[in-house]
């Protein structure tokens, strides 16, 4: 568990790295990526549901971070700013995917299966979790963009509602109602989840 001091130090380090990037020092990029690429990959995977797409999106996110670093407001939370870029990119990407190539590949076939970890030792539970994950992915597709983003940030990145509000530049009230609506819609689309 991260202590408050560690959290402050982490934010300071992020600020320093982003500050260097904003000043045109690209040697800050590996450090910034090391600190955030896993988290952003999981957010993007939760949103896009396809590992290849998420991997490409995480690269594009960091390209945008470099391109727009000069516009970063040093008062803003660095992690929220990175998350916002990632989510906006995921939204654009999904729009393009829907517009040009409405294809959905099965998530758990082929080589990607090995990269999806699970701490559950029971094969039955793993199979069940995967089935539910696929159903969840399909149900998420039907959600409005912002509801989907709020749900993913809450349940795949474990952000607090305040952090989600900061990342998506929404009011706290909007985040709360979006999360509630997302849950209710998903439950309707998924039907009963009782095993």
């Amino acid at each position: 568990m991260e202590t408050a001091i560690e959290a402050v130090a982490a934010v300071d380090l992020d600020r320093a790295l982003l500050g260097r990037l904003a000043a045109g020092d690209r040697s800050a990029l590996p450090g910034l990526m090391e600190r955030h690429y896993r988290r952003l990959y999981r957010v993007l995977l939760g949103y896009l549901r396809q590992p290849d797409d998420a991997l490409d999106a995480v690269q594009e996110t960091f390209v945008k971070v470099v391109e727009h670093a000069a516009r970063w407001n040093p008062q803003a939370e660095p992690a929220s700013w990175l998350t916002r870029i990632a989510v906006n990119h995921a939204i654009d990407r999904l729009r393009r995917r829907k517009r040009w190539a409405p294809r959905e590949q099965p998530l758990f076939e082929g080589d990607h299966a090995s990269s999806l970890g699970s701490d559950d030792p029971s094969p039955d539970r793993r199979v069940y979790a995967r089935e539910v994950s696929e159903r969840l992915g399909r149900a998420l597709q039907g959600l409005p963009e912002r509801q989907r983003a709020v749900f993913v940030l809450r349940h795949y990145d474990e952000l607090s509602l305040e952090e989600i509000a900061s990342a998506l530049q929404m009011s706290l009230g909007t985040v709360k109602s979006s999360l509630h609506r997302a849950l209710v819609q998903l439950r309707r689309r998924l039907g009963s989840l009782r095993p």
Binding site: M33, R38, R42, E67, R130, K176, L179
Partner: protein, 256 residues
């Protein structure tokens, strides 16, 4: 009861999501005791939240190691900066004003400088003296540049193998690494010429060169269409040794 239900309904979802403020929780829990409909909805939403928590995607790791991702991002940044859009932005943002300023300076300076050039004394030819030290320094510089170039090319080959090359046309899960294997063979042929020069002036370069040589031999030995496991083995060794990172550092060291 109806007003209470309407007021607390939205909070039932937040409670299920673990996002309700602690001070609001007792009232919502009390309502759940009294309202079977909300209780049932809460139970279903909890199952949904638990399903999301158990989603294997939450534990998924990126397929590529960090150094490869960094390399790929840096390449994309280079491409983005070199794209016509960036060029246009530069032209309109900085280029045109700079060009206008340069033209103005030339217009102002030329009338003053040209007569002086015309009237001034002709330069006397000076004999060029090059000492042995200068030659040695030049050789060292060339050697460092040559090694840095070699390592840069090796890095590109290794990144090409690690960053999922295209699939072979003949189908199946085999990857087209013909180009990488060919370039590895070429680089291995050039390696011998570097041996004496690199280690002497940049000690860390010698170790990295040896590691790179080992991996290039593996890439050179790959079939044109290689299986995923063979590429994974090379990716794993790259990652274990943090070779791409080291390569970048040595390249910088050599470049001074």
């Amino acid at each position: 009861m109806i007003f209470e239900h309407l007021r607390l309904r939205r909070r039932v979802g937040l409670l299920a999501a673990g996002a309700l403020e602690p001070r609001e929780e007792p009232a919502v829990r009390a309502h759940l005791e009294r309202c079977p409909r909300c209780r049932s909805e809460f139970d279903e939403l909890r199952l949904l939240v638990e399903a999301a928590a158990a989603d294997p995607l939450r534990a998924a790791e990126p397929e590529l190691p960090l150094p490869v991702l960094v390399e790929l991002v840096e390449r994309r940044v280079e491409q983005a900066l070199a794209s016509p859009r960036a060029e246009r932005a530069w032209r309109w943002g900085l280029g045109l004003p700079a060009a206008a300023l340069a033209t103005l300076l030339v217009a102002l300076a030329v009338p003053r400088v040209v007569p002086r050039l015309v009237e001034g004394p002709r330069p006397t030819p000076v004999a060029l003296k090059v000492g042995a030290d200068s030659v040695a320094r030049l050789e060292r510089t060339l050697a460092r540049e040559q090694t840095a170039r070699y390592l840069g090319e090796a890095r590109q080959v290794l990144v090409g193998v690690a960053a999922a090359p295209p699939l072979c046309r003949r189908g199946g899960q085999e990857w087209d690494v013909a180009e990488e294997a060919r370039r590895s063979r070429e680089l291995l042929e050039r390696r011998a010429a570097l041996t004496d020069l690199a280690g002497e002036h940049a000690p860390s370069a010698g170790r990295v060169l040896n590691d790179v040589e080992g991996l290039l031999r593996e890439v050179a030995a790959l079939e044109d269409c290689s299986r995923t496991e063979e590429l994974r083995a090379i990716q794993a060794r790259l990652s274990e040794r943090r070779l791409l990172m080291k390569l970048e550092l040595v390249e910088r060291e050599l470049a001074g």
